[in-house]
């Protein structure tokens, strides 16, 4: 896989600030600590369009713990909790 943005380090989307924009590198469900099983979480994320190469942007954050976040994935907006977003590795 070619990194689209070599200067930026990889990080989980769950740690991204509002206004962050990047490209999904890979999914890593086991790092998320979600209540869902790894397979289930990964399937759901893919079903909502979080696949490698998709462009994401953090549009909004909630008040409590800046959670959940509203993420633009290509041309739709998805609300997710940071906990689940930890499975999405971006750069």
């Amino acid at each position: 896989m070619t990194d689209t943005n070599e200067t930026r380090p990889q990080m989980p989307l769950g740690l991204a600030q509002r206004g962050y924009s990047g490209v999904i590198q890979h999914l890593s469900a086991k790092d998320a600590g979600s209540a869902l099983s790894d397979i289930e979480l990964e399937s759901r994320l893919i079903e909502l369009g979080f696949v490698e190469g998709a462009r994401v942007e953090v549009l909004h954050e909630g008040l409590v713990g800046r959670d959940p976040i509203a993420v633009r994935v290509d041309n739709i907006t998805i609300a997710v909790r940071r906990r689940e977003a930890m499975a999405i590795i971006v750069a």
């Binding site: 909502l48 509203a70 907006t77 609300a79």
Partner: protein
């Protein structure tokens, strides 16, 4: 000509316009709204194609895959795979896509193809796509996907013409040869591969201008702002409850005087006797006292429908997610709970979108605590009789403020109950994920709002004409028979069955300040909350004697103490006074136990709340 019925199924990602299409094709009025997860049941409808083919079409809940993660998605999966008992598999699957957002639907379509069912891709919402300058090469798309592609605008007249023509063409050459169903749940790797494939096809066939919906972005900048967003939400709710009270008043007074005049007319034109009493006290005072609340019901539904159509509901769920999470609720519980302001029944049904069983159960248990529209008559009646209509701080109507307080009490107690459930029963609770698509805002369409309001108003009147009317006949009968012995000096009602029953129950309810008239009214009030108002109307009308054509509110103001009135309000925040809600809980949880649990906990809360309210009020001198 004996052609068999053609079976169509509408499948697609949530909020892609399946139900709109269903309504356009069949002329139905199923619920449409701008958030994912509106449809939670399958609905069948019929139409005839331009060439005269009889068609049955089934609307299904939206889904992102055939995995069936939640009860609503299971319905879709089972129907498409022909697993649902007694169902025929569809002859043709219409895969409905939101044309502005094809990625997820194309992936779903690639998965659906494995079921071997003949399929059509319907590019719906094509008006929005064209407006945004999205260009779809439909021909190429059809070739790449191997299924016919057609565009549609479900909400515009004639917007489904192409689809109808295509249905005729296809039905003429639908092969009888059964296709192999090779579907099985996709592995993660397959899922990823299908999404890649979908993205590749889209890159080839669709040109997207990088012009996102700027309106949505602008509105969201405020509405989803961590602080401003919550203020906006609070403001919306506040205005809604003020409006329910303040805007409806003139119309309600008009209706009220109308029923009074009607009562007078019946009184004057019929000879004194049972028939006169039945019509005046049973029908007009009873049913009329509920119908006057129609304007308020219309206003609350108007607000909810506008918010739903605009696309605000999903935003509210976003804002409330963590706050509700603190009380142990799933983020997706918000929309069912907000719908419960209209009526707990659709609210409880809407919990089908919640995948986690325990989260769903918690939401079902607390949904009846949300102030449904059937409580409005009870609240309004008591508030207008006992709370002075003056302004606080110059602009807030005090009566509206009390109404708002009652709504708030419902919400807060629901959160508390949920918190307790989480604390005591579900110790090992892990927060379920919240993932929700936030759709672009859409301008609410006046026609669909009008239809929505009309349907709800009709339902309310229908209930007034059936449930409430039959309960009124019962109450009138109980309150009129047996007739007093000749020469009796006490009011006639004291000899009636109603008085006997009411007085037998009164000792149970006197600690909370209820008199025997309330006790009687609460029994038919089990059928539906607003019946209690009607029952009070009838009981007091009969007690007041034949001449008293007073409004029920004025009667209450003289007969009840303020403490009793407040206690009654507290009772109605909690009391499980709705048979249909209990029946739906039993159906949706599949267990009598949970129905009994709901009933008991609400009854206990109601009694406790009334007890405290009454005694505190008496101690403060309101007895």
């Amino acid at each position: 000509m004996e052609t068999p019925l053609l079976h169509l199924a509408l499948v697609g990602t949530p909020n892609s316009g399946k139900t709109s299409l269903f309504n356009a094709l069949t002329g139905s009025r199923q619920k449409v709204a701008n958030y994912p997860g509106v449809t939670v049941e399958r609905k069948e409808g019929f139409f005839v194609t331009p060439l005269g083919r009889q068609v049955s079409v089934v609307d299904l809940p939206g889904t992102y895959s055939l995995r069936g993660r939640s009860p609503d998605e299971e319905i879709t999966r089972d129907f498409v795979l022909g697993k649902a008992s007694g169902e025929t598999v569809p002859d043709l699957v219409l895969c409905v896509a939101d044309s502005t957002n094809l990625r997820l639907t194309i992936r779903l379509l690639l998965e659906l193809k494995r079921t071997g069912r003949p399929m059509v891709l319907v590019l719906n919402m094509f008006d929005i796509a064209s407006r945004r300058g999205i260009n779809v090469d439909a021909e190429r798309l059809a070739k790449e996907l191997g299924v016919p592609v057609v565009t549609s605008i479900a909400v515009r007249k004639g917007g489904t013409a192409d689809l109808l023509t295509l249905t005729d063409e296809i039905s003429a050459r639908l092969a009888a040869e059964p296709q192999e169903n090779s579907w099985r749940a996709l592995s993660v790797a397959e899922l990823r591969a299908t999404q890649r494939e979908a993205d590749r096809i889209i890159a080839d066939c669709v040109s997207l201008p990088s012009r996102p919906d700027t309106w949505t972005a602008r509105i969201d900048a405020v509405v989803l702002h961590p602080v401003a967003g919550l203020l906006v939400l609070a403001l919306i709710l506040f205005v809604m409850f003020q409006a329910v009270f303040a805007w409806a008043q003139p119309l309600m007074q008009l209706l009220n005087s109308g029923f009074d005049a009607l009562g007078e007319f019946v009184h004057a034109s019929l000879p004194a006797g049972l028939l006169q009493s039945f019509l005046q006290n049973g029908v007009i005072s009873g049913v009329g006292s509920v119908i006057v609340f129609l304007p308020q019901i219309i206003i609350i539904f108007l607000f909810i429908l506008l918010l739903e159509d605009f696309g605000y509901m999903a935003r509210a769920a976003f804002l409330m997610d963590r706050i509700m999470g603190g009380a142990g609720l799933h983020g997706r519980a918000f929309i069912p709970l907000l719908s419960s302001f209209a009526c707990a029944i659709p609210g409880i049904m809407a919990t089908r979108v919640i995948d986690n069983k325990r989260d769903r159960l918690t939401t079902i248990l607390i949904a009846p605590l949300m102030t449904c529209s059937a409580r409005i008559p009870v609240y309004t009646l008591i508030i207008s009789a006992f709370i002075p209509a003056r302004d606080v701080w110059g602009f807030i109507n005090l009566q509206g403020l009390v109404m708002f307080g009652l709504y708030a009490a419902g919400i807060i107690s629901a959160l508390l109950v949920s918190f307790l459930i989480k604390f005591f029963m579900l110790r090992d609770y892990a927060p379920a994920p919240f993932m929700l698509e936030l759709p672009d805002y859409k301008m609410p369409r006046p026609k669909s709002i009008a239809i929505g309001v009309y349907t709800r108003a009709k339902m309310f009147l229908h209930r007034a004409g059936t449930t409430i009317f039959s309960m009124m006949v019962l109450i009138w009968f109980l309150a009129s028979f047996p007739q007093p012995p000749l020469g009796a000096t006490e009011p006639a009602i004291d000899f009636s069955l109603a008085a006997i029953i009411g007085k037998a129950l009164a000792p149970l309810l006197s600690p909370v300040g209820f008199n025997w008239q309330i006790a009687v009214a609460l029994i038919p009030g089990m059928a539906a909350r607003e019946v209690a108002v009607a029952a009070l109307g009838t009981v007091y009308a009969i007690e007041g004697g034949k001449e008293a054509a007073e409004q029920i509110g004025q009667v209450l103001a003289t007969k009840w103490s303020l403490a009793t009135a407040l206690s009654m309000l507290a009772w109605y925040i909690f009391a499980p006074q709705c048979a249909s809600t209990l029946a739906v809980i039993r159906r949706e949880t599949g267990s009598w136990t949970w129905m009994a649990v709901t009933f008991s906990y609400m009854l206990v809360l109601a009694y406790a709340a009334s007890l405290v309210t009454y005694n505190v009020a008496v101690a403060l001198g309101a007895g």
